[in-house]
Symmetry: C2
Subunit: 275 residues, 2 copies
């Protein structure tokens, strides 16, 4: 899915919501455990209940890998179930030397090799240009580079400062020389809305993938106030607050209600930029 | 495998070699393609031919993930084939917010969940303390944190400087407050031997996992001169130079010859510290 198609989906659905399928078999409703693959069944019902309200699904690969071969199969099956009109994110936070990153890119972008054909992968920047480039080299695919994350540990290294720029600002500034806003997005945490002003200095045009709204305490209004650009430029993720809204048989229905609340807030924000 | 056991293996085998199973189906000898799982067959023969010469096998997960479900199965099967007396490394370069890192730790450390029970995982430091801790919380397991890598992109961010310390030095200094040398190792590239002096300032006791000797141009002698400590403190990895020494039917025999050359050099170095 290219940039223009993402923007069209945002306009059509009046939403820039990504729903995170961080599906933990210990947290899903008990009545699903009778299915052959409870995680897949959970994901299917969540997707069916929410797909008109979100423009993206983000699959956190860790939650699948931890279940071994069965988990990896659930990852592939969930990928196959994602609607064509949503932007798919493999939230895998990969990154290694060049030839190894090429293998990771194949794992998520080359269906002939791996049965998966995600639109994007999240990538860790620590190892620099040759660790990121292989993801950018795939035609029509996106790399979503970690910049400023929303966890407590983000203060340990991302905020170190060399000269006039913090480390995460160096990440954005340097990486924007490797690819433009048609190929590259950034992960930017939402715990402090004004922080988006700093990000937009270096990445005025890029889409930003924003976790940390809701459960992690960020305010959607602030994120939009400081982070939105003329193309919207935001994909805001919510995982637990939506998918675990209920642990009962009504989980999908309740997930839809939560997604709808977020989508309605987003519609208000989109009206401000005349979308 | 704990620190003392690693040291005993080094003394016994007179080696601190890790062999990297970066097994690419396009590079293995053609006669193996007749097997059900050529990658696994290749790995088995390499392991059988080299296990008395190395103390560790490092499995690069990317090379398995890129083959989808079959690849993940080959990863599990290769893990199961690793000799008990070798230190096993899942070279996965994972790292995410706390609860997600816990899932990655389970994926490689909890055989009840994933069928894999590696001794260690390589971890990317960018997201800070809560992204690393879950790996350290596993009893008897190791986290091997990326510090200074040997690829060209290592100059992009790892060498940025805040105050008197470079970014990779901050990584070592801060992380050494999270765990001691019984739980934590660092990845340190070998392209410049004297660089190990800086590393040893911050990590005098830790084992260092050293890629980049051989194919990537580092000198084993320099690495030992500047990086060895009284417990050896080094695990030096070689992948391609050993496993792809021949593309013919003699590949395992030739891999053994290459491993033996490295082991003999290592024996010389170990004599200098009376091991």
């Amino acid at each position: 899915m290219n940039r223009q198609q993402i923007i069209e989906q945002i306009k059509k659905k009046q939403s820039f919501l990504a729903i995170g399928l961080d599906t933990d078999i210990n947290k899903i409703p008990k009545h699903l455990l009778k299915y052959d693959n409870p995680v897949l069944e959970f994901n299917k019902q969540i997707i069916e209940a929410t797909q008109d309200l979100c423009i993206s699904y983000k699959i956190n690969t860790a939650f699948y890998e931890c279940n071994g071969i069965k988990g990896w199969q659930a990852l592939i099956d969930t990928f196959k179930y994602l609607p064509q009109d949503t932007f798919s994110i493999a939230d895998a936070k990969r990154g290694d030397i060049g030839n190894t990153s090429s293998m990771y890119a194949k794992a998520f972008f080359d269906p002939a090799a791996s049965e998966m054909d995600f639109d994007s992968v999240t990538v860790a920047p620590y190892m620099g240009e040759d660790s990121v480039k292989p993801f950018l080299d795939f035609e029509g695919k996106w790399a979503i580079l970690l910049a400023l994350t929303s966890n407590s540990g983000s203060h340990d290294f991302q905020q170190l400062k060399d000269g006039d720029k913090k480390f995460f600002e160096w990440v954005i500034e340097k990486s924007s020389q490797w690819a433009n806003a048609d190929k590259l997005m950034y992960v930017v945490g939402a715990t402090r809305g004004e922080g988006f002003l700093d990000i937009r200095k270096y990445a005025p045009d890029n889409f930003l993938l924003v976790p940390g709204v809701g459960a992690q305490g960020g305010s959607l209004e602030d994120v939009c106030k400081y982070g939105m650009n003329k193309d919207c430029g935001l994909i805001v993720n919510s995982s637990r607050a939506i998918i675990y809204a209920s642990a009962g048989e009504d989980f999908a229905e309740r997930a839809r209600e939560e997604a709808l609340k977020v989508q309605q807030q987003m519609r208000n924000e989109l009206q401000k930029i005349h979308f």
